[in-house]
Symmetry: none
Subunit: 221 residues, 4 copies
């Protein structure tokens, strides 16, 4: 198969995996079912993705790539606006993205938890063989810091244009916002179609509160 054709097929298989992952979660998903969903056999699936872990990482990579693309386009859209506005747009983007794509957000979270738990670079022996040998794992490592870098850059821009306080460590703020977003997602949604109020709290309101807090933290008074 030509590379382009192969890649196309890979995309289709990833989509099938996403459907199954969405239905039953990563752990309960069976390679068999994913193959069936894609209309192929297990072994063929394995010829594309050498392990279930790798398939997961493929989904994760797609998720991160998608997220980063959105970061870029959001930044482009906000080029003329202040750094504060750009930064807030990114925060909102991340929350919206996670809310709309619960599977992707879970995948990303798992990924970052994994690399965090095994340290960076050093004790990679903790990783399973399946992960260490995954192409997608390597691809992910190449881009994993981009979301943070882009956010930091936008905060720097805000500092320079005077829209953002200059006494803040941009990376710290980035992490704080990232944390708040993740927390919101974890609390709010366990599946995309489950957005009913929690303890009578309207979730849209909660999201606004989170963003307002971030905005207050950042903006120059």
């Amino acid at each position: 198969m030509k590379d382009s054709k192969k890649s196309l097929k890979e995309q289709k298989l990833i989509q099938a995996a996403e459907i199954v992952f969405n239905k039953v979660g990563f752990t309960n998903a069976k390679m068999e079912d994913i193959a069936a969903e894609a209309g192929i056999t297990k072994v063929t699936l394995y010829s594309y993705f050498q392990s279930k872990e790798n398939l997961q990482l493929a989904v994760t990579h797609k998720a991160l790539q998608l997220l980063i693309d959105k970061y870029y386009s959001t930044l482009r859209e906000n080029k003329e606006k202040t750094g504060l506005e750009g930064t807030m747009s990114i925060f909102k983007l991340f929350i919206d993205f996670s809310e709309k794509n619960f599977l992707y957000s879970e995948a990303l979270l798992n990924y970052f938890a994994m690399i965090r738990s095994t340290g960076y670079g050093d004790n990679k022996e903790k990783l399973t063989e399946g992960i260490r040998e995954s192409v997608y794992f390597r691809k992910l490592q190449d881009i994993q810091n981009l979301p943070f870098k882009l956010t930091v850059q936008e905060i720097e821009r805000g500092k320079n244009d005077g829209s953002i306080r200059d006494d803040l460590d941009p990376m710290m703020v980035t992490l704080a916002a990232w944390a708040a977003s993740i927390g919101y997602i974890k609390v709010v949604s366990a599946s995309a179609n489950n957005l009913k109020p929690l303890f009578n709290v309207d979730l849209e309101q909660l999201k606004k509160l989170q963003l307002k807090s971030a905005n207050e933290l950042l903006r120059k008074v």
Copy 2:
């Protein structure tokens, strides 16, 4: 066996499970190994906990119970102080607890994700049989809302004593703080012994920032 003795043994088995869970994670933990760790056989372990899922829920229940106990004692210690101070102590408590007990925090997160994803009460068919029949699942359901209720009460107290803004929905703030804490945990720690800086950000500083944000959100100006 007398109930007290049986319960004692159960506690020991749960501890053994925690050791193994900590070492290799829930998924990779083998019942056989947990039994070995406890110095008993698999079958005996099964006679106490009918399934691996149930054992997980037992750990989860212990975690939540422990957390709630800490909530109570923290509230007691802060009885004479303002509601704001009490509330902040609770927030800090939760973060510290999660940081120190990564396993517990994971267990609790899993639990809340699970009940959230299956809805409350209605579509319980999604739950596996092993879960639905678990004693610990029922016990957890009885106390799962306590942390939120206690926090809300403390915020109300703060409203009354004038230390906390009165234009806030206490439950919303509670959820926001809960989310921020979870997010922090997710970002920061994947295992207790892994608190080195992230992107050169000192994590203690990050925690302080999170708490400061919460404090600013709450306090009356």
Copy 3:
């Protein structure tokens, strides 16, 4: 406990075992259930019968003892009649006994199959430890040949009084009759309460035919 008392209790336990054996068969019977049926615990049951096999043998012994008693009383009743009549009474007795006590007949069959398969005396190593150490096994060995001997004696008596052909090996006839009876039982009944016709053959008729054949084989013409 005094021996008499102990023996009494043993009898009760055997009865409980019979009830359970009758309900579900030897293999499916659980020691637990037998104990429950007797209103005691498993361990107590074990203190009387050291193994399930031994309990089976106890039932078997009771069965054989009972059968032999009936042989004796039948022989006594037929003392004044011809040897042919006595012999036929014994044959009939055996069939009736087996029909009425399916469990006993199964037990006896199992027993004879077992000792046959392990040979007599020589290769007793094939026997399980549970059997070799069983008191009842030893008791059974003491009386196992009695039914055959008594039958042979009665046939001899018939030869002498001229009612039975004298060209027959009495033991061979005994075995032939024993075989026919067992076969009848095996074909006819799998449980006492299941005597409906088989392939439209009335089973009473079949029994009569069997006995008539035996009679014809034996009697002097």
Copy 4:
């Protein structure tokens, strides 16, 4: 796998099972050992036969099929002879078959005891799920009556050609012969390699006696 290949493998597995069953008996046979004997793993064995019970039934089915085949060829061989001779050949065939294949004879006996004890068609709830769902159980049900039917037909033929008494119910005679054969087997053999005399009775003589009785019962005088 093509059906033919699959079926071939099944036959091999059944042979392995027979070897183990012969060595240690149905009850003591371990699936693990049968798999080892066949050079495969337990799980693969299970993929062919869903339960130990089913594997037993497979052996039983093979036994009955084999027996029936022998019935047919015997009947063919005796086509030119009288019905009496044909019938006697069948009786002898059955005894010889059982004697030579103790395992098969046990399997068949167990099967007939089982269906007898659960009744025909009506209270099938007594059967275990493993049995009810067995393909071989269904296959057995289809052919279980053939041996009886074929015997009855041959007796009818004997009646017509004048070699067999016409005052007998053929099915009753069939059952009587079946019973005598089973009884003989039960008494005589517990394993094929165990044909030493019983109580000094030569077993060949006993067999002849049984057959002579049958012959006398049938033949027209």
